[in-house]
């Protein structure tokens, strides 16, 4: 028995030490512990031994078994380490395998960036129907009865629903501003909300004009709010969107639904305000109209203009996204071409 154990040990230690691959090691293991294995054979002899010899023999066989097992494991690590060295010729400059390249539309991304900013300032999100009425698109917003925007050369009126007036004359909304009155009517002041979405205007398209475009409006209505504070709001938004200090200026502008009304410009990020072709050499880019809600708009929403005031901005998202990516053709946004869209993953 002892001799046989020593013989097995010597032979196995040699075989383990000289096994060069994991497969060879497995073979050694099988020749020891497998069904036909030498140690398994020894174990099968145990029942034939007498009761005095049996425990000791059992212990010795087990000890050898453990010893060889740990040798196999150690050797296995060595063999694996060696195998790893075979990556020597692996080309690490091969391209990595990318995760799935799903993407949100660049305008959606900008919209969500703005949502995050406004949410962090306690604004609610709001949305209105896209088919709206003359009542909400124009009447409530202090548009004069003869205002050209009410004509079909500017607004997409809906066939069969264009003959009535006010609430019965239907169109694709030409701007989001009508939604503000819907919100004011159905909520309690003070208000602080944004209402992003699509708007539609009947006009000739070119690199700077689209028939379907994406706007983002924000409105604050409270008892105390001055137009100057509106500048803080605008600047916070732009600084966050562009991740740097963006100069903002307000200049006089006329829109029926605000008084006073402003055109709001941001410093041109392309030239840093020195003047370039993008900003038509003035260093500023018109980015949004804004202003204090016109008293007639507040009245339309059932609020007393002597008690309430506020600030409104309408951000043209298409243009903001164009600034972000230095894009020069607004029409690209409605082209569902993945070669374009996948650039914004």
């Amino acid at each position: 028995m002892q001799d046989r154990l020593q013989e097995i040990q010597a032979q196995a230690e040699h075989q383990i030490a000289s096994a060069a691959t994991e497969a060879a090691l497995q073979d050694v293991k099988a020749s020891l512990f497998g069904k036909q294995g030498s140690l398994t054979a020894l174990m099968s002899l145990l029942p034939q031994m007498n009761s005095e010899q049996r425990p000791a023999a059992g212990r010795e066989i087990n000890a050898l078994k453990n010893h060889l097992n740990s040798l196999v494991e150690t050797r296995q690590e060595e063999v694996r380490m060696k195998a790893a060295e075979s990556f020597e010729e692996f080309d690490v400059t091969l391209p990595g395998i990318w995760p799935e390249d799903g993407s949100l539309h660049p305008i959606t991304q900008m919209c969500y960036d703005l949502n995050d900013i406004f949410r962090s300032m306690g604004f609610e999100l709001y949305a209105e129907p896209e088919i709206t009425s003359e009542l909400y698109a124009f009447d409530n917003l202090n548009f004069a009865f003869e205002h050209p925007a009410r004509e079909s050369m500017d607004t997409y009126w809906i066939a069969g629903h264009d003959s009535g007036t006010g609430g019965e004359r239907l169109c694709l909304r030409p701007h989001l501003t009508g939604a503000s009155v819907r919100y004011l009517q159905t909520h309690k002041p003070p208000f602080r909300f944004v209402y992003p979405g699509r708007a539609f205007r009947n006009e000739a398209t070119d690199a700077r004009h689209e028939r379907a475009f994406f706007q983002y409006e924000a409105l604050i209505v409270s008892e105390e709010f001055t137009f100057a504070s509106g500048k803080i709001m605008i600047k916070s938004i732009l600084d966050k969107v562009f991740g740097r200090d963006v100069p903002v200026r307000m200049r006089v502008g006329f829109f029926p639904f605000v008084e006073p009304g402003f055109e709001i410009d941001m410093g041109c990020l392309i030239c840093g305000g020195k003047g370039c072709s993008v900003c038509k050499q003035v260093g500023w880019i018109e980015i949004m109209p804004g202003g204090t809600p016109h008293p007639n708009v507040l009245r339309a929403a059932g609020l007393d203009p002597n008690q309430y005031t506020g600030f409104y901005v309408n951000i043209g998202l298409d243009r903001l996204v164009m600034m972000r990516y230095e894009l020069d053709d607004v029409r690209l946004f409605r082209n569902p071409d993945l070669r374009f869209l996948k650039q914004f993953c």
């Binding site: 949100l104 999100l125 003869e146 997409y156 809906i158 001055t226 200049r251 502008g253 204090t292 071409d337």
Partner: protein, 812 residues
Amino acid sequence: MKLSLSWIKDYISLPDDLPLHQLARDLTISTVEVEGMTHLSSQFEHMVLGVVQEIQAHPNADRLWLCLTDIGSEVIEIVCGGTNLRKGMKVAVALPGAKLRWHGEGELIELTRAKVRGIVSNGMICSSSEIGLFDLFPFTSEATIMDLSDFDCTAGTSLAKTLDLEDIILEIDNKSLTNRPDLWGHYGVAREIAAIYSLKLLELSACKPVAPNLQVTLHDPSVSPRYIGLRLDGLSTAQAPYHIRSRIWRLGLRPLNGIVDITNYVMLATGQPTHAFDADYLKGNTQVRFASEGERLLLLNGTDIDLTSTDLVIADDEGPIALAGVMGGKRDSILPQTERIFLEIACFEAKGVRRTSSRVGLRTEAATRYEKGIDPERCDLALTLAVELFYGSYPDLTLAGFTDNYPLSQQDKCLTLSFSWLTRRLGKEIPRETIAAILDRLGFKVSYDEDTVNLVIPSWRGTGDVSIPEDIIEEIARIHGFDNFTPQPISIIFEKPVNQRKMDLDREIREYLAFRCGMNEIYTYPWVSDSLINTVIGTTEGMFSLIAPPSPEERLLRSSLIPSLCKAVAQNLHHSDSFRLFESAKVFFDRDYQSVFDSREFLPHQENHVVASLVGSLDQAGLLFREGKGVVEALPRYLHVESLTMNQLQKPPWADDFLWLNVFSGDESVGNVGLLTRRVALACGIKNAAVVIMELKLDSLKPLPSRSNPYTMISEFPQSSSDLSLIVDRVVKWREITDVIYSVRDQAGLLRDVIFIEEYQGPQVGAGKKSITLRLVIGSFHKTLTSGEIEAFSNSVTRELAKHLGAELRSQ
């Protein structure tokens, strides 16, 4: 609109130290957007006044001359072919470096010293067309050079200075002027600049001519509140004096004759349009009335128009002679022989002019101004200036008639407000004197006591532009300077967090499709063509159409996003054969009108839809369908909405006969998933690809208030997997198999999961059969299962499957 800075300077003295760009910036911030500034003289660089001293024949050419020309610093030889050259003539000399057009045509070319037929010419004696001045110095016979002998300048003076063209032209964005009728003339803009810089504005006095009374009847003073008529005799249609011509020319108008040029000059100066009729062709009484249906008018530009009863016209006894505020008629227009005119200086109501001018498609300078709303008082300014200019231009002039028909003289428009309100709304206390001074400079009459301010709105701002106290906030803020207000930080009242699960869902589903499902979001237009709808959906019933669609074909407003999606798939197949698209947008239905916000408003049914498509090779259609189904199955878990079920109830029109499922939330149908049928795919131009489409009604998904999947305990004991390969009839469905497995008696609760591994059909399993491999996950929370227990459960599953579905184990 173009403005001449030197014209503005007729009325104000600008500070010497005011840089031009500062003026442009300040005007842009406070009044109107200055889009550009041009130095008029830049086009006359390297051009000077020359005096021809001697004319010699050119040795090598019959029609050319050698002119010794004094250009101040020296006398130079110039080769010239001018037919009107004469000794002592003052001419425009272009020197090397000047830019001009040969014979007034083609591109601008830089002049160089060059030999002309063997003789060096050191410059060029120009014709007006060669240097862009033809309209100002017209000529009829060829090779006529500009004769500047009337200009009182010496040789060597720059041409721009000689011609008084050292001016700066400001380009104003017309959009920024729509609400400011007072700024459509130089005087109004000068008044604004005076207010911005506290300058003194030249006051224009009003004159009342004395002359025999003229008859002009105003049928409806509400649309023609004022009408001044003047009969002027002793005129001619000779050129207007140079300073009049050059001013209207530099602003883009072509000088025509003395009479018309003066009317244009008056309009550009005051913003008040005027019109001159040839008095010899006026028949009988002049009246301002609405046209009758059936009347016609031949306009100045040659178009013959049908009038309607909403068109305001000027008429004499023979009928309409002018379209009020828009354009004059041909019959009474100024002709070369005109000597006597009837001059109209009138106020017409804005809406009517706008209506008529857009109806007949004429956006004239006059109409553009009238439709902004001109105040009747402005006629006085125009009258004074017109009389002055006509007298100045025509020494033989006599004033043969006059009327000022102004039946409803204007009431002062007043506003009352308080300093405390102003302070609150401005967010800044501005001294009362400062406020009063600002408003005074803008023309308001201001009086105030302790807190109350009484204002009289200036007539030129009172036609709609300024009417409420809020307008005054803007006036003060813009003149005080927007930058001079310190913004107050915005305060937040914290009551509750914003919690809008419904609103969030639109975002979450997009992020799910993009980031978990690897899809790309697209935006398409809401308008679609009949043919596309018929191809994909089969009917256009219940869809809206647009009155003036973007194109005649795309007139329908979509009630499904799928047609546009198919189009987008076809488009992308040109560049890729495997991709995933999605879109989230509104769809519209001409039904279920509701009045939610206002009892006067009825809005149709509109839904938010989400559609997605998986595109791959045709032989992978089944796999793609399963992927699409998986996108819907996993959605409630990631989006935290109530669970969705799928079943075949009603096949969507675009779907394959077999590969489709309806999606339900509870009992409500919320969407579909299916393979785009071959017929529709081909009709959309999708040839070699399988397209699986998912559509969901976003509004019908029911968001859960928060996360709601409770934790499932993890067993301490190992789980075992047992794979079974079964052979069943092809008609047997997976759902039937799992139903059987879950019905197996399992008192100890050993079955943890049943997982589909693969399906196989083919020769190895025989006709009408298929092989299904599945995995049973078996385990216990209480102990490690013995191999006997695992086998026993697995065997009972096999037994039940054999019993109910005739399944055989494939390995046996």
